[in-house]
Symmetry: D3
Amino acid sequence: MLEKLVLTGAAGNLGGHLRAPLSRLCRELVSSDIAEGVGDLAPNETYVKADLGDPGAMLSLLEGAEMVVHFGAIADEAPWEAIHRSNLLGAFNVWEAAYRNGLRRVVYASSIHAVGMVPKTEAITVDTPHRPDTFYGLAKCFAEDLGRLYWEKRRLESVHMRILSCTPKPNNARAIGSWLSYDDLTRLVTRAIDTPVTGFSVIYGVSDNDRSPVDNSGASHLGYRPRDNAEKWAREIYAASPPLDPTDDANLRHGGPFATTPLGEGAEALLNPKG
Amino acid sequence: MLEKLVLTGAAGNLGGHLRAPLSRLCRELVSSDIAEGVGDLAPNETYVKADLGDPGAMLSLLEGAEMVVHFGAIADEAPWEAIHRSNLLGAFNVWEAAYRNGLRRVVYASSIHAVGMVPKTEAITVDTPHRPDTFYGLAKCFAEDLGRLYWEKRRLESVHMRILSCTPKPNNARAIGSWLSYDDLTRLVTRAIDTPVTGFSVIYGVSDNDRSPVDNSGASHLGYRPRDNAEKWAREIYAASPPLDPTDDANLRHGGPFATTPLGEGAEALLNPKG
Amino acid sequence: MLEKLVLTGAAGNLGGHLRAPLSRLCRELVSSDIAEGVGDLAPNETYVKADLGDPGAMLSLLEGAEMVVHFGAIADEAPWEAIHRSNLLGAFNVWEAAYRNGLRRVVYASSIHAVGMVPKTEAITVDTPHRPDTFYGLAKCFAEDLGRLYWEKRRLESVHMRILSCTPKPNNARAIGSWLSYDDLTRLVTRAIDTPVTGFSVIYGVSDNDRSPVDNSGASHLGYRPRDNAEKWAREIYAASPPLDPTDDANLRHGGPFATTPLGEGAEALLNPKG
Amino acid sequence: MLEKLVLTGAAGNLGGHLRAPLSRLCRELVSSDIAEGVGDLAPNETYVKADLGDPGAMLSLLEGAEMVVHFGAIADEAPWEAIHRSNLLGAFNVWEAAYRNGLRRVVYASSIHAVGMVPKTEAITVDTPHRPDTFYGLAKCFAEDLGRLYWEKRRLESVHMRILSCTPKPNNARAIGSWLSYDDLTRLVTRAIDTPVTGFSVIYGVSDNDRSPVDNSGASHLGYRPRDNAEKWAREIYAASPPLDPTDDANLRHGGPFATTPLGEGAEALLNPKG
Amino acid sequence: MLEKLVLTGAAGNLGGHLRAPLSRLCRELVSSDIAEGVGDLAPNETYVKADLGDPGAMLSLLEGAEMVVHFGAIADEAPWEAIHRSNLLGAFNVWEAAYRNGLRRVVYASSIHAVGMVPKTEAITVDTPHRPDTFYGLAKCFAEDLGRLYWEKRRLESVHMRILSCTPKPNNARAIGSWLSYDDLTRLVTRAIDTPVTGFSVIYGVSDNDRSPVDNSGASHLGYRPRDNAEKWAREIYAASPPLDPTDDANLRHGGPFATTPLGEGAEALLNPKG
Amino acid sequence: MLEKLVLTGAAGNLGGHLRAPLSRLCRELVSSDIAEGVGDLAPNETYVKADLGDPGAMLSLLEGAEMVVHFGAIADEAPWEAIHRSNLLGAFNVWEAAYRNGLRRVVYASSIHAVGMVPKTEAITVDTPHRPDTFYGLAKCFAEDLGRLYWEKRRLESVHMRILSCTPKPNNARAIGSWLSYDDLTRLVTRAIDTPVTGFSVIYGVSDNDRSPVDNSGASHLGYRPRDNAEKWAREIYAASPPLDPTDDANLRHGGPFATTPLGEGAEALLNPKG
């Protein structure tokens, strides 16, 4: 049981889902986002409006906390200036504030898009080197290197969860393999928090899908055991999908549609914004 | 649901078993073999007698199909001339006919004997390089390279299932690790067909045996999850077996008896013809 | 069913637990230790007091046996002279006696401490090279090289079980990942005995803990499938533990407290003597 | 012979050295830096004062060029804000301007400090994953991921030269292994320019020192063959050095003093500013 | 000094060059090809016209020999039927005849095209798995698997020389990296013959070019040390070449133009028939 | 220039050769062996008769020294009791005495026989795991693990030189690849001493033979550059050798004749006692 835990991105889809379970892991939960509010709060929860791009705001936000669950970011490919400010500098500001406030660990929403250009027919593991598919993925790569640096030089721990497709239910053919259920997201974040020592760790965030395209065996020390499985939607979704062109990188690469979207072009270009 | 699917080797043990389940995955199933017939047909099934060694026959056979499940081959070590014609040229004829007819994918019965000389004490993965144990295995290696070439140059997909020991039940000590049940074979072939994009993929065909000697983690994108387990026969079969000499390559290598049989000598030399 | 099986270390915690299950795998079990006796014997069990450091005693002990389960050793870090005699020379004496008596296999209690200096954030597999953390671990490394030599030059098989934390129940935060239950120990030793051919094999001895920090996929041919899971004690044990310092090698390395204990200093320095 | 080539960082030590040799590889050389000027110009050289942190300035600077040799950056550890602007955003601005202007390739001064936390006793290759030792190194990691992204999504080539210690002569014990002579720097940059196709490539910049601690075999396609060797200074420099403490990360890690310098603290803390 | 050595492909460019040096390594050289003759013979040389596709002819040809240097093949991409007969069956016939006649070793002209689809920016080693670029390359892959099989089952040695571009002098930009001089070819073949034990070995055949794109460190036991270097032609050839498009697989992949030529289309489509 | 350096095995072939060059690297050289003396001493050299198996003798011997060059051992396969005392316990006594006396580094004569069972057709690197071929090799493996342990727990450095065949000139066919000249031995030991930081390092001791079967690229930080080459004896030695049987492990494995000699049988069984 942590004394104080901070959640960024609390107004987002994933952050919003995490508020309740995180509130049960600590005596005091501070939820934060750029929005005015996030609706009703849990009894031990407070909300702080703060801008990730503002170092001073982050420094204040993390004061006295033991860990930060950092989900605040643009959740899609976007122009460089936006990604740079929210995702890249946002990550830097969180890590630096965590260090200055003496936090123990950053639990970070990284993404499959850090390695999105790898073909699906190649196994990816927690050691797969960076092959970002977008500015979005590039910022995730930066945060992984940043986390490693702060661990090796400053002994600030971090867990980098390379999340695949986190939605209420799988909504396209790719997600039969890449889906992460909300319950499994909770399980993953819980383990990233309650594992006593993590150092610098990378792990994929995906459910126990039959067709999950990743190998998490290198992160078994984190004890993440997903329980949901997109396979029960497979027949229905595949029946509704046209055949996928195997020569299209959007189908062939781990990053899916991000592998072919032009750099910097986001939500309008993509039907499935969480990729 | 495919429009048209072709099965070769439909008169063989494994092909014969696959006819019924495959007929449920397509509107039209064309079963083929060198035999005169294969008995009663499913309502949507037709039978075509065709010789794998005849390029023109293969070209006709695959006309209009979307995929071919290629199980036609001599299922044992045999003299080179026979392996060459049925297994090596047969594979070539199928791939070339698939390409010319615009098929999307070849689902191929490869074999553990493509890597049969690897010691069992070394983990084998989907990336283990070729170490064939027989002419039979050599032809499987050829078909894997062929499949990779057609994928890389012509964008014809293929799934190479390196099958271990597919029999109704395990029938010797080696099979406690290497058994593939008929039901799991069906599961494997089904996934090789219904996975939307496979590119060039290799996967081992083995049940969920406690002592399965392979690591399929590099093929998780195919979603193959076996359910049967040879372990329930272990006590009985081990009790009936004499101790196995660990210095005998037939016991020590993944290829089992194929690892020691003289090249080109088949059924008469081996008690267990499926190896 | 073996004719004759020998167990060393029968008076120790783990050896003592194994006596009953081993007695059911053979017609004749010979239990041995340096103690005067081990209490009541099974009907097919005899006890022989013998000193591991005495080559002649080992030669007599193994006469007529088919396998030896070698658990006899100091089960803790200790001064070099003690480790050298009991653990290093003891292993040599057992292997040499096994060879001279024509045994088929040595089943050996190796230890995680053979690779204890590897950080927990690095995956360890059955191929991870030696990085011992103590004299205790150094002697385990020696026995692995010895076992490989006897297999390659003399065709004596051996299974090296790198045991993590084998206790009745998990008793500290590290053990949530590293626990090996007594029942799973029995399963592991049973498979090490009844697998028909093992050559030289290495495998980790750990239960099916959610947070098990090892990857046994390279030893799947041994068919070890643990069933217990330390996770059910996680909440209770973590609640009772102070936060672990991630910069302390005792928390960061696979060897746990052995990673920081001074060489040669044993039981008095360590609360958890099985590490 | 290129039509137009741009050099950034032309007022720096390394950039200044490169002006003359680069002027011989192109019809028109544009040298650029933040300084007012760089002294006498070659007949085919022009100088443009430009700020790396200004996207528009970079866009203008690269207009009409075929390649850019990007050496402009703070050449030392420095506070984050400075590194972020000059080294990280500077790299982004150069790559984006190169893409918009249709350049073919960026030749980039990366650094050993992208992997500076790797122990010297571990071989490093062009595939060694990022382990930055400073903010300086972190920005180099960012530029490598950026270069890979622009190659994979936009087909802009780049060569990332991980330079070790480029000085007129070796000036400390570490440099006996890590020295890059000015002549070898010229050879390296020349090959990075004249190799017809490079895609995304990484290579270490080090002379042919007997004790060079890197393995460039993965970059042999670039044809870099250094000719100088720091060994001739070894006796003299070692004689003048006190014994190095092998437990000090500044001596044990590839990054040398950067491995222990506090993040963000630069020139005053380090005797050897190029690391 | 061998008693009897056989050379196939003696009328080809490379085979013709090898006749003289091979005649000095044996008491009796038998040169063979499909042509009527090969001009003047060395005193210890005889010529035998023989068809590689004729098993009986090969059996006779190799009678009494100790080794065969097998260069006979179509030296270009060609229709499958032609490659199959001359290159694939030709290799089989040579290996089988070598085995039946008790030869010790086959020295074989394999090719870079066995791995021609690998991008040049990836290091290739003697362990790089097959990625053929043509039917021509596919037949080379077959011969490597065949050679491995005959070594492991029949103890017939073979050395597979993956030759890059063997011409009198480099004749295009790719060859600055891939050239193999005739003198270095002689050195390579000589070492493949005079190394006392080779088992099954793979090695790249390339000169000591600065920009040689391969890593032969895994074949150092063969002692091949090339002395020529295409670099002296680099300036002239690069000056005469148009810029190469880095997005064209013919420039990006190890196989060069074979990486894009349609399967089965040979000499007319390629300016540089030896690839 | 070291103040005090100790050499063990000074009466042996290799140790005897090293006395003179080592005397030039230090102010005081203490040579030691079990013999009564080693003949004329250098002006700064003293001789101490001491038994490696005697811990107290080693403790005295190393008093005040900075490094020890440990060549004392039985230089051949021998019965276990002899190898155990001189080679295994001898190494332990030296390391422990070095630690207690505060030495900085042990420079150790390890051997190819630590990995002697690896086939020559497999590349061996400094990371190749242990595969000893004899008791002799087993003791070398032990000393490598010991050295790693003392480095990781006690920060005592060590360099493990896996020497191949060190003789005045190559004297058999194997040595054309495996020869280490006396001059190159001197170069290697000198670098193992004068490299400022080595941590725990492994390197092969072999000359610059064309056919050297090892890859030292992982030890480039030690700067060992051999200059001699056994190739000049190749023609003569090969001409005098009968053909080597490639199926004989003595020819096929890196350990040469040690790969087939019965364990414990030494000089009488082997014509070439240094292997």
